[in-house]
């Protein structure tokens, strides 16, 4: 019998703190900075807002942001046509935005990943049927699907969530199916079959763990898209209804004042853009980080 083979060197032992600090430096701070507000506002809104967002002050309508002529520092971003503090309504609107984006994305991820996994793993007719369904979905322009759904179930929070799920499941399903197809052909999956492992074992021990990275990246990126989609739905008047507030609705309502009080539609839109941008950047960073890890594996 051959002698023992030396095991690989696991790398020089860096002091823990140095490693931790250098890891910290490589985090995507810009992205985190963009996403953090929506999280903080969404969760802690009532403790943060400087004014009650519902407080109407008809004496102070359309007051410009603090740094412009006529602005004042008690209303940082100015006031809307009812004299409500824009910054406070923005914080208030973050809650709906956050709930809708998270629930919608997770819901579509759950459905899409399941469908993609089943289609990719079992293949054959199931696969053909599910992918045809995805094709049909992809062929109906998103806005039309939203309008159809909105027409059917009326406006409201549920409409937004359902629309997001209906719109997004297919992109999860496609990517996951593609990856499952490749993973299914890996040697270790065949070997697991030869070792008498059940489908359940193979899916949970061999396929899913290798899909996890992709899922995280997809969810992060779709979260941003969900916020933009929510804005679109609210803009069409199919989202939450006043007096509830959401960023998309604020843009929609502010449209009339574009020429006279541009800040009313501008800031909510900017908030949407930044949040979506942050989640895109975070998704890209995660993908690179996971890719780098995958290339090591």
């Amino acid at each position: 019998m051959t002698g023992e083979i030396a095991l690989p060197n696991r790398g020089a032992a860096w002091p823990r703190v140095v490693k931790w600090a250098s890891g910290l430096q490589r985090l995507p701070w810009l992205a985190i900075l963009m996403i953090a507000p929506v999280l903080i506002f969404g969760v802690f809104g009532p403790w943060i807002w400087p004014h009650d967002p519902a407080l109407i002050d008809l004496a102070n309508t359309k007051q410009p942001p603090a740094w412009l002529d006529g602005g004042d520092w008690s209303h940082l971003l100015g006031t809307d046509s009812f004299g409500r503090d824009l910054f406070s309504t923005l914080i208030d609107g973050a809650r709906v935005t956050l709930i809708v984006a998270v629930v919608g994305t997770l819901g579509s991820a759950l459905i899409g990943v399941t469908i993609g996994l089943v289609a990719g793993f079992y293949g054959g007719r199931v696969d053909a049927l599910l992918m045809q369904l995805a094709d049909v979905k992809m062929s109906i322009p998103a806005t039309l699907l939203i309008i159809l759904l909105g027409g059917a179930i009326g406006a409201g929070l549920a409409t937004i969530v359902i629309s997001i799920v209906v719109l997004f499941w297919a992109s999860f399903a496609r990517v996951i199916r593609g990856q499952t197809l490749t993973l299914r052909e890996r040697g270790y999956v065949s070997l697991a079959r030869v070792a008498n492992c059940s489908d359940y074992w193979i899916i949970t021990r061999h396929i899913l763990p290798n899909l996890l990275g992709t899922c995280i990246v997809l969810i992060t990126i779709q979260l941003g898209r969900a916020i933009v989609t929510e804005a679109g739905i609210s803009f069409l008047g199919l989202g939450v209804q006043p007096p509830d507030s959401a960023w998309g609705l604020m843009v929609s309502q502010g449209r009339t004042f574009l020429a006279t009080a541009w800040w009313i539609p501008a800031f909510p839109g900017l908030a949407i853009t930044l949040t979506c941008l942050g989640s895109n950047l975070l998704g890209d960073w995660l993908r690179d980080a996971l890719d780098a890890r995958a290339s090591l594996l």
Partner: protein, 305 residues
Amino acid sequence: MLFYFFRRLGRALVTIVGISVIVFVVARLSGDPTLQLAPEDATPEELAQIRSELGLDKPIWMQYVVFVEHVAQGDFGTSIRYQQPALSLVLSVLPATLQLGLSAFVLSTIVGVLLGVVTALKRDTWIDSGLRGVVVVGQAAPSFWLGMMLILLFSVELQWLPSSGRMSLAHMVLPTMALALSSVAVVLRLTRSAMLETMSADYIRFLRSKGMSKSLIVWKHALRNASIPVIAVLGLQLSYLIGGAVIVETVFNWPGVGRLMVEALNARDFAVIQAGALLVSFFTVGANLLVDLLFGLVDPRIRYE
């Protein structure tokens, strides 16, 4: 190639059937249209009368068959609001939507591909990161908000371009830009990564070992190969842009399907919504079929399948 085409055609037909089922089912979900049509003081007998006139007393699959029969004959129902056939209403505004969607499509494809090639060739320089930075912001912004900001800048402040209506070519500039920007981002990113991948392919190295010039390698070989994954998403982009046009139209008062449908939505005018959704989807399917043909033209492996 013919085989490939027929297979694609078959798939497109199945997709159209699928779309009709979905539109039909969702429209039925919206509740009983009888109540909308009937006068408020209608008796149960009168309601039943209307219902059987509409065929709503038949089983659901029969209703679907009737629905398909009507659609096949060009009968998409009558708009309650305008008391006109829904089809002619939609057809009268469809060209405006297609004009907007297609011009944004052409613009975003050309600009996206060109910038994608440039960023790939200038990888990791300031040109690369700068362009990608701009585009990534464009991708994140909702198109309708972007449209408003464009109006604010170019119509309100600078007064260079008109902000609403569809009178001249100048009217098209802002809506097209608002619509195209996010699509530019998608095409750029895809082209860039596809270019980077092909540039590291073995056949590119072999071309270099033949002494071929860099421009020939990039524009003849690499770009053509990189275009395959880009073409694969063009169909999706078109569907996305036509859908996006519907929202952007609202911002710019562009007289297209979008405005018609939003109005129909507010008036609960289902015939119009149904007709709009079906027609625009059919158009998308057709465009996708064209994209598939384009695939066959570029890739001999598909042609000889």
